[in-house]
Symmetry: C2
């Protein structure tokens, strides 16, 4: 298994990424790592990874044209390396827009896929049960055909990753009734209802209740949902901290409640989710959070490792070669 890592472009600098690589290597010493970035920074991991030099950093706000032009950026070099070395996966915490565009253009879409999507899984209120969400931000506006394909890719992902044979698929909407939804959502509904795994529309407040296996969003509202939920989770965590810090009595309360609270923290820590997959291209392309620290980047690498091991790309290829 070959895994290419872009070590530049994250908000916290390459040292955190390198820290993540070290953590990953400790746990998975058999994975062949190829790290792209500044030679002096990569010195520290030359024993555990192949090192490839790239001096330029893709700017966070790079558009597609700028991304294409910056051929010496670590991001471009990493993608070229993936192709040349026939690696299985790649990860970057750099500019989302640039990374997703370059990956789509260069690594290419799986035959039959109209548009790749960012897919991630999220914990739900039911213990051990995740919900798969896509598109959480690869596109802004989508056609009905794209939404229908997102449902299909979500189901294939859910089968490959979580072993759920007949995933319950929902379309995110502003109401649960059939007549609710954006104009493109309503059109997609009419096609999706022929699919035996499609259940119907789902309001955003029900997504984390654990009834749905896959929830399909257009890229814009999926991004709003994902980031809005993250923001709320962060606020609640902060308020919880404040609640325990209120006075000496509540501090004592924390000491007693600690074991339960730590479980909650573990479940809700987005750093444990770490990265989203660009589904629909010919490799495991992982977008890690821009502000990933070492442990977060390590978690995102683990997400990528798991998806390579579960052969998600092959499963999508198979699924799309059968019916289209």
């Amino acid at each position: 298994m070959k895994f290419v890592i872009d070590t530049l472009g994250g908000d916290k600098g390459a040292l955190e990424i390198i820290e993540g690589i070290k953590l990953f290597h400790q746990e998975f010493p058999d994975v062949e790592l190829i790290a792209v970035g500044k030679i002096d920074e990569l010195e520290a991991i030359k024993e555990i990874a192949n090192i490839i030099e790239a001096k330029e950093v893709m700017p966070m706000d790079a558009g597609v044209m700028e991304a294409m032009r910056m051929k010496d950026s670590s991001m471009s070099v990493a993608i070229d390396t993936l192709i040349k070395e026939k690696a299985d996966g790649i990860i970057s915490s750099g500019s989302t827009g640039a990374f997703l565009s370059l990956a789509t253009l260069k690594i290419k879409k799986i035959p039959g896929v109209i548009r790749p999507a960012l897919i991630t899984s999220f914990p739900t209120i039911i213990d051990g049960k995740n919900v798969v969400l896509l598109d959480v931000g690869a596109s802004v506006e989508n056609t009905k055909e794209e939404l229908v394909q997102f449902a299909k890719m979500g189901a294939l992902y859910d089968r490959a990753v979580f072993g759920i044979k007949e995933p319950k698929i929902y379309l995110a909407s502003n109401g649960s009734e059939e007549h609710k939804g954006s104009s493109v959502g309503k059109e997609a509904y009419q096609i999706l209802k022929e699919d035996k795994n499609f259940v119907g529309n789902m309001e955003a407040r029900d997504v984390l209740k654990g009834h749905a296996d896959v929830v399909v969003f257009d890229g814009y509202s999926g991004n709003i949902f994902l980031k809005g939920s993250e923001g709320m989770a962060k606020m609640m965590s902060q308020l919880m901290k404040d609640a325990f810090k209120k006075n000496i009595i509540t501090k004592v309360g924390y000491l007693f409640a600690k074991s339960g609270i730590n479980e909650l923290k573990n479940k809700m820590d987005y750093k444990k989710v770490g990265g989203a997959l660009l589904i629909g291209v010919n490799a495991v392309v992982i977008k890690a959070h821009g502000n990933s620290d070492g442990p977060a980047f390590y978690s995102a690498m683990k997400v990528g490792y798991n998806l390579m091991r579960k052969q998600v790309v092959e499963e999508i290829k198979k699924g799309f070669s059968l019916n289209e």
Copy 2:
């Protein structure tokens, strides 16, 4: 001050609504209440409210045509009563779609307003600081002109309700850069940037951080944001409860931490927010949560009372008569 209440159509039945009315009357005995619904149910409050009979319930999934046809529904009768009695406000926990359409058609838009919006305020991580959000679901798709007006109405609301003279206005987007956003969002940005109170785009994860006074959404993504955030808050609260219930030690922890936790609960209880205002029509039109119980309905009535007292409708009228 006259306040009309539709007592039918909520998920939990009229008795909860009546309970809410009683709580409200205890606190605000001077407000003239007009309750519309079934006579036998309203018997219990005939000493504190004027009673108007209506036997039919507007169905939760009523479309505009059905809503218009059901002239004997408590919702229609309540709206007609508001107009006839020149009441200041109206509240319903019935079908959102039907209520907002009927209210817009019958109570009429304020001159200059293209499209009314659902507006609400949300607690943020900064203590005592709220953020005003609109549209959270009155429309599905919006034009750039509508988004620009939402910004204006949000600012007028923020001034009237929270006394913030120069509210910081943001446009919700999938990125903070100027080039991010839906196609209509990008067009609205170009107009909004002429407004001295407009700061720029805001990602959904930053909305609750307390930097923004007003965040403008199109109705569809605003609905996804609001309900998604509610869903996450609910899940976190549930997980917190579970964390304390884990074992005898964590239960003891809860007893000690209780005072802090209750503060958190109070802040995050959406029932304390209770209702959203349909801004842009000629009355205070409050949509209460469909599943409101007595205390939640009481809170929603308080939201309405506060908006009448702060003369939000008059302020919007003034704002729109000056510049348009």
